[in-house]
Symmetry: none
Subunit: 216 residues, 4 copies
């Protein structure tokens, strides 16, 4: 007010408001977050968010649409073109996922959807279409490739996709503030390593194993 706090361009405003909103929605939940909280966090006053967004619900939707969807797309693009054998792919997929979705603001998404999804069905649809399904496709691709090449055991692909996704989602949740997830939050990387270790152990076919299980 006195000094020029808003020397940054006006174009930055909506973005700043959405970032403030994201942080608070994740921290306190949608209903418990007041517009004034968002405004203060964004360094503006009560009326300003309404210059850019029609109402609170639109702010929530815009957080998803304007902040998180673009990040999803960016992350998806990076995830699209990894290569190598199935085990390597899986390893790389998990690591890249973490780098692009776990260590960015995208990690807020699961908590947001778990907590608020029920009150925003359309947003839930978007989430499923833009995040869940693409994510499943990535794992499906790796699993099918590995099974086809004989590198992986012939597991139930659709169920296994979600088994593999669970620890990653958990790791994302662990970054969303006061979400209790055991002690994985302390060292997500070690957690992911253990996850890959167990998962690959569980997936890889081994020479002797064919004789071990099939004959039974």
């Amino acid at each position: 007010m006195l000094c020029k706090r808003w020397s940054r361009r006006k174009e930055a405003r909506p973005q700043e408001i959405l970032e403030a909103a994201l942080a608070l929605f994740v921290q306190k939940g949608y209903a418990a977050t007041r517009i004034e909280d968002i405004a203060r966090e964004a360094g503006v006053t009560r009326g300003t968010p309404y210059l850019y967004f029609a109402n609170k619900e639109e702010i929530f939707k815009a957080v998803i649409r304007e902040l998180l969807l673009p990040e999803i797309e960016e992350a998806s693009a990076q995830l699209a073109n990894f290569q190598g054998n199935a085990a390597g792919l899986l390893r790389e997929l998990v690591q890249l996922w973490w780098k692009t979705m776990g260590e960015t603001s995208l990690s807020a998404l699961p908590k947001l959807m778990i907590a608020e999804g029920g009150n925003f069905p359309e947003v839930l649809d978007v989430y499923e279409r833009e995040f869940i399904h693409p994510g499943q496709s990535l794992f499906r691709r790796v699993l099918e490739m590995g099974i086809a090449s004989g590198e992986f055991r012939p597991v139930n692909v659709e169920q296994t996709i979600d088994v593999l996704a669970a620890p990653i989602v958990m790791a994302m949740l662990s970054r969303s503030g006061n979400v209790p997830c055991g002690n994985l939050a302390a060292d997500p990387q070690a957690y992911l390593d253990s996850f890959i270790d167990v998962a690959l152990g569980g997936l890889l076919a081994r020479p002797g194993e064919v004789a071990c299980t099939a004959p039974e």
Copy 2:
């Protein structure tokens, strides 16, 4: 409604109110649930919840304390005395967990804590103490037993605990209404089978494997 005001026993009322509250808190979240919603769901009117609980926050805490904690304890008691070899134990642990915590109202707990934990720190403490830690202990016990007997590979126990917990928590979340968890919700049992399949595959030591990795 007009005729039988006393049809249900007074002693049943608090329980009914808490059950209504649990359902709505899970469905819509704490803040978005109005006392009147809870009352209507419980078949009473606005004032009645206040005959038994001081205010909305106390209703939330009572849901945890009166409804869920006793179920946790009951489930823990059942989980305490399973037996057999490590693989069997793990299988049994997961199945029993699901039966006692997944298919009961306890499945609401993770969603509740993820969504509302940040606003109820004391409740979060209780959750960690009464649910997270005992659950981790169960897995720790199985893992240490299996590793000690040579049945399991020597994995990082603490991290693996949380890896194994993730799919189960996910399965619990899948039962909490509009929580998006891929397609595991359709057939949790099949999901858990795949999970055990992959997990055991990843944990079991195999004869040839020692030669396979160690000598390298």
Copy 3:
């Protein structure tokens, strides 16, 4: 409840309820007094007052009508037949007033009327008709008698009535709980003595005084 608390006759009930109500109305005010407070104070439960009184307002009116009006009448009867010279009458009037109205539950009346009168106009009318006017009549009688006999100076009777009433009302107020009235509450009797001392000093005509004012 367990033992027979209500061994006292049922006829005592309404009276007990009114006494409880009077105490609480004086202590906390009409609006801040809950029916349940009254019931508990009277040793009954929520519903019982409604067996005897239609609603809270009727309880208030009954407190005035059933408890205080009879006491007023009794006191008036005693005050009616005092005798002697004017000075003695005044002295006796004040003393008797205090004994019958100050040291009984009647002392509650001024506080009740000051605090609640505005919300109960009919009660205020009763108060004026049954308490204020008779009281003024008593003082008027003494003053007129004293002036007529030359014992008192010729003061403005109507105004002086209220001047003389003020300290007595004050003394009554001092007995109604947390009413701040200086330090008169500590020893009302001494206060009344000082009052009579000053008042008589101010009223009595004296030999030399006639010459002092009349000739002018």
Copy 4:
């Protein structure tokens, strides 16, 4: 209402709300006064009082602190420097008291304290410290001065203070709406004249009086 939302200055609002609150608290009592009443009386809507005061109780305290205490201080300052002989001082004290405390909004104070004091003990303390005690000091000063100079009879000073205060408090009460105080309300000035007449008559020592009473 529709057109000029900002016609009155923001700084005036709290004051206006407090004045409305004072009027209503005196008229109907604290509990019976709804925030909406206050708001309407102040020409604003339900939410506005909460922009300036945390809750209803704070409005009550602010009425005392912000409206009445400053007036007390102002009045005290005026009362502090009267002069003359004791009889003149007393006369002047009463008149000035009336002008500064009876004919201003301060006249509300006694009714407020009598009616609500019991529910606001801290406010009662303030009242006693800031109003009662200073007022007693003024009378004490005059009485002691008069007695010391031989102008007044040697009365019990502490009790007489409260005797002299009673009619003034009564006169203040008579201005607080439906408070029943006899017919003094019609002409407070005449009432105060009669009061001074009687009081001075009762206090002044007279030449012949020493002989008149002592020898008996």
